[in-house]
Each structure stands twice: as C-alpha cells, then as structure tokens.
C-alpha cells in the first residue's frame, strides 16, 4: 500500500505540502524537547545532559518498530522506502566535520534552524555559517568530487551486512538503546553541572 507518495502517484505540490507539514511537526517536537538550547546539546558532549541521545535514539527505534509492523501487515512496502547511499570516506570525514561544528557551534543543522525560529541570535549566525559552507561546498564540488564519491558501497542496510533478519536487528538495537539510556543516566549524575542545567 504505502509509501503513499509513490504508491498513489501524488503530484509534486502535494508531496511538498506533506513535507512542510511533517517539517513543522518535526521542528515543533525538537523545540519542545529543548533542542533549541545549545547548552542542552553541548551537554551530550560533556555528559551532564544526555537528552539528545535519548530523544533521537527513541525516535529512531519507534520509527523502526512502527515501520516494520506496518510492513508486516502489508501496509508499507519497505522495499520502496529510500535508503541513503553509503560513501565510506565522505561519511567518516563528514561525520568529523559535523561533530566539530556541533560542539563548537552548539547546534546541529536542524536544531540551529529551530533555535533561530525562536529568535536566538547565535543560531542565526550558526545558520548563516552553515549556508556559507553549503555554498562553498557546491562551488568547489568538482574538486571534491573524486574524494566525496570514494569507497561507494550503495544503499546498504546494517542488518543485511550482518546477515540478520530485520526483526532480530531491531531487537538488538532496542536492547542496545535501553542499555545506553541507562549508562547515559548514570553519566548525567556523575558529570552533573547544576549551574548550567538549572538555566536551561
């Protein structure tokens, strides 16, 4: 049956409208979870606040469980769902750049826009910086291209590489997530910084 957009052949404007509605919902949830505060985001790095880990991991496993149940009942064809392609080199280098930007700027791209929308000036400059970087990347892409497309692995899924069924992999991921949440809560107590967390 689903994904609706490819199964029913929605026109482009409807696809975009759905994207905007989902985007508003996503931004609202991010803001409500406190992700528009760079103190909270940086807390992940220093260990005094691990909300980022908990929220994102919970979202991921809920989506994983939900989509697999929908697939089991024949409501969603997971073969038609987009899988991001894996370029090993650029994934590693991009991850390092992203992590550095995250800890220096105090936001990730999504939360930066989120914080800007509630009027944070640091977030405004953060987003401007991000857009500048995107512009420079696009302009220099011909030079970067051989490097960016290095070690291409295609749209691989972790469970296929490990030779596990999607269900078993989901279970392992959930168990790992719960274990991480537990460790994260211990870390929050150990590295507590009340003088920062009280202001969030």
């Amino acid at each position: 049956m689903g994904p609706f957009t490819s199964a029913a052949g929605f026109p482009v404007w409807l696809d975009l409208l759905i994207a905007i509605i989902i985007g508003i919902g996503f931004g609202f949830s991010l803001e409500q979870a406190g992700f528009s505060s760079s103190r909270k985001l940086a807390g992940m790095f220093y260990g005094y606040d691990t909300t980022v880990l908990k929220v994102f991991f919970t979202a991921a496993i809920v989506a994983l469980v939900g989509s697999q149940f929908l697939s089991y009942f024949g409501l969603l064809n997971l073969n038609l769902v987009f899988v991001n392609e894996y370029y090993v080199t650029s994934a590693i280098v991009g991850g390092v750049i992203m992590g550095l930007g995250f800890i220096m700027g105090g936001f990730c791209p999504g939360t930066g826009v989120c914080a800007m929308s509630i009027g944070k000036i640091d977030a405004l400059f953060y987003v401007l910086g991000g857009l500048t970087g995107a512009f420079l990347f696009a302009e220099t892409y011909p030079l970067i291209r051989p490097f960016a497309e290095d070690a291409y692995r295609g749209p691989v899924k972790v469970n296929e590489v490990l030779g596990l069924s999607p269900g078993v992999f989901t279970l392992l991921l959930i168990v790992a997530a719960v274990a991480m949440f537990w460790v994260a809560e211990i870390a929050e107590k150990k590295f507590a910084r009340p003088e920062i967390t009280d202001k969030i």
Binding site: Y72, N79, P166, G167, T170, L171, V178
Partner: protein
C-alpha cells in the same frame, strides 16, 4: 513494582522488539506500482497469449508454462484445458501465491472471458510477479478458435495447415481429458498437483 514512564516505555519497546524478532518479515506481498504504470504494464501486448499459442503449449506439454484456471471449482471439474491448475479467482489472494506464481515459469491466467483474467493479471503484476500473462479471450476464444474452427477454403497454405494441425491435436487432448470419468479426471489433476509440489522442493 513502581516504574517511571521511561522505564515503562523501555519495557514496551523491548517487548515489541521481541515480537518483531519472531515475525517473518518479508513485505513481499505488498501491492505497489502507480496505477497508470500498472495499467500500461498489464495492457501491454506482450502480456497476452492467443488461444492458438496456448494450444501449442498444451500439445508440446511445454514445461516453461503454467496455466491457471480462475473459474470456480465446479466449473473446473466439468472441463478444463489439459495441464491447467485451478485457483479460483475468489481464492487467489488466500492461497499461498508464492507456490503457483513465484516459480520460474510463465504463468498464464484464463477464465471464461477476459475480465477476471485481466484482474488477476493486474493483481499479480502489482504484487511483483512479472512473469504473468493472460490467454486473450479466455475459454470462449479457446472454443471458437480451437474447438470449433473448421477449414472451408479450397487451398490450404503450409502455415494454415500447421495451425490447424495444432488446433486439432489440442482439441483431441482437450476432449480426451474432459470425457474421462470424474474419478480418472481427478486422478489426472492430482498428478499435476503433486508434480508441482515436487518441483517446488524445500520443506512442504
């Protein structure tokens, strides 16, 4: 035991994960394809076989072809094309589709006319079984072309001769099968079923 909401959520997620780990997740039977593209694929000339082509498959007992009779079981028991297997249209989705559509042979649907066979074709193609076809005109066309055709001209060309030869041999096989007593007919069909299962292999 007192649990805070986070612990409760964790327990629920782990339990759901356990259920998922034991579910056979295939997603194979999901219907997909945009309606217009699906229609084009199903209406494509290459999805059809004429009754004459089917007659040729029947007399050569072509093993790369499987005929599927979509009529109700009583009608199928009265008469059917030799080699055909009965999958009533109403039960099409209830049966294990993999067992008769997932094999590496061309599957040809037929019913009395065109309508049900074309519906079945759309369903099969939508579910990803691309090696599926329809006998154009169904049994009505089979009767007109194969069972009731006769030559009335003066001279016959070699091509026409071959065509009529095929028709007459198919007619003979059809009459032989369908004039058998019911018990023998049933045994013949059973043998076809078993042959099919043997081919499938695996754990049955």
């Amino acid at each position: 035991m007192n649990m805070n909401p986070r612990q409760k959520l964790s327990v629920i997620l782990v339990l759901l994960g356990l259920v998922l780990a034991f579910l056979p997740l295939s997603g194979k039977y999901s219907f997909h394809g945009k309606p217009d593209q699906l229609l084009l694929r199903a209406l494509d000339e290459s999805s059809f076989f004429t009754a004459d082509q089917v007659a040729r498959f029947v007399i050569t007992e072509d093993s790369t072809v499987q005929l599927i009779d979509l009529r109700p079981q009583q009608e199928f028991n009265r008469f059917s094309i030799p080699g055909a297997v009965n999958v009533p249209y109403k039960n099409m989705l209830q049966k294990d589709m993999e067992s008769y559509l997932g094999r590496d042979v061309r599957t040809i649907f037929y019913a009395n006319g065109d309508r049900q066979a074309n519906y079945a074709l759309m369903i099969a193609k939508g579910l990803g079984f691309d090696n599926t076809y329809v006998m154009k005109g169904g049994l009505n066309e089979w009767y007109r072309l194969v069972m009731n055709s006769s030559f009335t001209g003066e001279k016959i060309t070699a091509r026409e001769n071959a065509l009529f030869e095929t028709r007459i041999r198919a007619r003979k096989m059809f009459t032989e099968l369908n004039s058998m007593p019911d018990s023998l007919k049933a045994r013949y069909r059973e043998s076809k079923e078993i042959e099919r299962k043997k081919l499938d292999g695996g754990c049955e």
